[in-house]
Symmetry: C2
Subunit: 127 residues, 2 copies
């Protein structure tokens, strides 16, 4: 499904991202992301990481520390322009007994075979 050039295909790729995050599945992250200089990842409250080398290292560190949260994703909203699309979503996270809420923009690019994440930008919501 993540291969379809449709809004549903984008949503499937977005779901695959959160499944990989919850599972701490580095191989799934490798398969999902655009593994080049254009990859940008902003963890909540942090400065952006630019380029797949730095982005990958951050996920590896999170996963090796067992810090992968449970995430309930709500308010998903897709905007698609051909082979580029972005999803706005609320991330309701539970990790180590703590809860946190963030709002994310996830940008995906279709490479002719499937959707790949090129930007993950999470912003903490202050309450």
């Amino acid at each position: 499904v993540t291969s379809e050039l449709t809004d549903d295909g984008v949503l499937a790729a977005n779901a695959a991202f959160y499944q990989a995050l919850e599972a701490g599945d580095m191989a799934a992250m490798d398969a999902l992301w655009v593994c080049g200089d254009d990859a940008v990842c902003t963890h909540p409250g942090r400065t952006p990481l630019c380029g797949w080398t730095d982005v990958r290292r951050s996920w590896a560190a999170i996963f090796s520390a067992g810090g992968n949260p449970q995430v309930i994703v709500t308010d998903e909203r897709v905007t698609r322009r051909g082979g580029v699309a972005w999803v706005s979503a609320t991330e309701n996270m539970l990790a180590g007994g703590n809860t946190a809420v963030a709002t994310a923009i996830n940008v995906f690019e279709h490479d002719g075979r499937g959707w790949h994440m090129i930007v993950h930008h999470a912003a903490p919501i202050m309450r």
Copy 2:
């Protein structure tokens, strides 16, 4: 310059956004944004506003309260895919004697005549 289908055109549109923000210039915001349902704006620490009606109302409220900050923009990084592009940037803000730092992803769309902002997603950086 904001009409050029180039990275420089995107950067000019990004600069126009921060000029409008600093100046509290609602007419410039009207001219810059995609004024439709796809507009998404996330102010730092807040939940996303979806659709131009809600986005515009938020800017009008900020400007009428005199809350428009000074913004020094650093770390600009453009990624462009034809007529869609996004800029990652650090926003160093000064408002009412307070300073704040956020990291933003700004998405722009070219309508054949110029670049228009379709997503502004600002994330506070925690220190």
